[in-house]
Symmetry: C3
Subunit: 302 residues, 3 copies
């Protein structure tokens, strides 16, 4: 009897899965493979940080051929994934191969930006002992690495893949940067867990963020059918040389944080502030009650 119940349960699950269009992708065109995109990111890490990542120990003698070989394979594999997300032939402006080549042409510029980001991390964190530690162990630097690559694909009009890339970095590092955000040079996110940078955020040069910072949307305008309007500027603009401390939340597409501002921890801000402003939660608004020192909690002996 148990077998019959099980067979009936399985039959029902399968039948409903066949008839649930929202969650199934049956008979559809092939989708990009998450695993493959993660592997492409890993290979790009090897190319951009040669000697730090990858299994091969690299010597000057074999570096040239080795990296050339890796890049050739990245090109093949990335073009194959991009092919899956483009509109059907006839409705597309560029071929997947051409878009991948244009992405490759952007890579040296991205590597230069990343070198400046690594330096910004060293200049911005007194606990950093060297560039090695930053490249190997700083999650904010890893998230920005992934973002800069994803943003280049986003700028080329590649759908879905940039978002899968940054979402992988989000899972790994806790830093959620939408590939559509625009971020200037020498950018550093310290610690990073919980930091969110929305799709239409603009960030200038030499900006430093801490963990738990949100650059988010304030409200979502809807059209006359009650549907969200997509594509408007919904996230803040952060000018050059701004520092934003842990847990601050800054919302709204018209919110501009002026050059050189310092935003304190846990601040919740929905309006613009002029250049050079310091915004903090003052200590004197806290409720402070002194009481007798509590005894140590009860602990059973080990």
């Amino acid at each position: 009897m148990g077998d019959n119940r099980l067979r009936a349960a399985i039959e029902r699950i399968v039948t409903e899965a066949e008839n649930r269009p929202l969650l199934s992708a049956i008979d559809a065109a092939p989708r990009p493979q998450k695993k493959e995109i993660i592997e492409i990111l890993r290979l790009l890490q090897e190319v951009i940080y040669p000697g730090f990542y990858g299994d091969a120990v690299l010597y000057r003698a074999n570096l040239h051929d080795h990296l050339g070989d890796v890049l050739f394979h990245i090109h093949l594999r990335l073009a194959r994934e991009i092919e899956k997300v483009l509109p059907r032939e006839g409705d597309r402006d560029s071929s997947a191969v051409d878009l991948t080549t244009r992405f490759f042409e952007a890579l040296p510029g991205i590597a230069d930006l990343l070198a400046e980001d690594v330096r910004a991390a060293f200049d911005g964190d007194p606990a950093a002992t060297g560039f090695d530690e930053i490249v190997l162990a700083y999650p904010g630097v890893k998230a920005v690495f992934t973002y800069r690559l994803a943003h280049a694909l986003y700028d080329l009009g590649v759908p879905l893949i940039p978002r899968i890339m940054t979402e992988f970095a989000h899972l790994e590092t806790g830093v959620d940067i939408h590939p559509g955000a625009r971020i200037g040079r020498s950018f550093f996110i310290d610690h990073g867990t919980g930091t969110v940078i929305g799709e239409t955020t603009d960030i200038g040069d030499r900006v430093k963020l801490y963990q738990g910072v949100t650059l988010g949307a304030l409200s979502f305008p809807k059209n006359e059918r009650g549907e969200l309007i997509r594509g408007t500027k919904r996230h803040p603009t952060v000018m050059d040389d701004v520092v934003i401390y842990a847990g601050a939340t800054i919302l709204g597409g018209e919110t501009v944080i002026g050059k050189g501002c310092v935003i304190g921890g846990s601040v919740w801000l929905t309006a613009s502030v002029p250049p050079g402003t310091r915004v903090t939660l003052p200590n004197d608004q806290l409720r402070i009650e002194t009481r007798a020192v509590s005894p140590a909690p009860v602990r059973s002996s080990k």
Copy 2:
């Protein structure tokens, strides 16, 4: 001499491990295998989102047989893990096989809930470009997927395994939902990193949370021996159509957030609020100091 020191050190570590009852599980009954539970979740993902996950490219022609086969194996493997966590025979109400079949009977209802959750994500995030992106790349949606499956096992009285499931989702997504929480239809957590939903939380329909939201306990009553009392309602109740923004903390088992409330970012709330209330941290409590624009920080040339 170095070898002697090493041998002595190893001998001491092993001897102490043998005699430390708290941390060792020696001669105990077999424990559930974390890796196996994670693999079961992966297979359930393939069944619930056919075509999105899993290595097989699914066509309507082979879907029925393929999913049936996968489900049969999930049943075998999950029943084997549940067997390990049940009380010994004689002290249990149901067999592991029977509990697993009852879990299967709940799966179509769970899949329906998840379809509504995916739709709520699309309706709630202007950055979403389609259901594909939500299923493949939204961490909040992944966390809720795992929670809904774990909660069904929790409701069937299966110990430990639901918590291992949601804790895996926590590690992956940064969203920590206790399998005991009760959550209504069309639920969406955007971004999600740092969001915590405690064991005795009740959440209504069409609720939307952002990253860093805590629905937690306010205090832990103790019994006359100074031990925590377990099993009381310690976490808030959130009614239908509530929105809670990033970093808000809501605590306490008697705290009720009424229907349609909006709770602003970084708010810390330990009391109930009536339906339709908007609670925010006003900007005018911030300390705002304008100062001369600081020069760009010193940067060594590259």
Copy 3:
């Protein structure tokens, strides 16, 4: 033509990689392998929690030999990684083998501390159903496990490897504890995502933290060349029996949180507080606006 463009793009990427000293580690001494360090942590987990982790089902009969064997291999592999990060021979005080043996001599003491941490988690969380669940599923406990091992290596003067260890725990658990921090007995971090404990933090005994707590630096003094001064006390001191709730931020090397204090959620604190103080964000500073209950949001039918 596409082929020529691709060849030119690859050539340019490789040439620039060869000439970008900051990001490449070519011809350099071998670096520690992240994967290998993660595997060493996994093996240490098996030694410290025998029976909970590891593939072997352990019985008292084979435990002694099995753990001894695992420890012997950990010693070999860890010494090999430490060798890579030490200064060249002549400039070092101890050999890699000797440092590894001294680390092994510290392990029984660390295991005792971890047993107290597990007990503190059970005593501190009413949702905990047993030690099993804590060892297998509590991310804060996993982060503290990794921290205590990394801190022992840090105390022995081993560079880089402790930071790679804690950063792996950070990626896995969202809890970022610098290996240089000093943390007392019976320490518990509940939920944990987003919690940051800086390099020069001092924490007493029986302290409990929640998710999103930052124990961070307030400002970074610079030398006359505008460079950060490294190595000063920059992070707070937290005395015995303190509880710090979700999202609180405590900053500064001179900030001392006295014995038995309770710091409320989302508090931002940059000054010392005397023993027994309770610091909270009062509810009455919130802006609370009642409005008509909004209708349920527009939802298309499924």
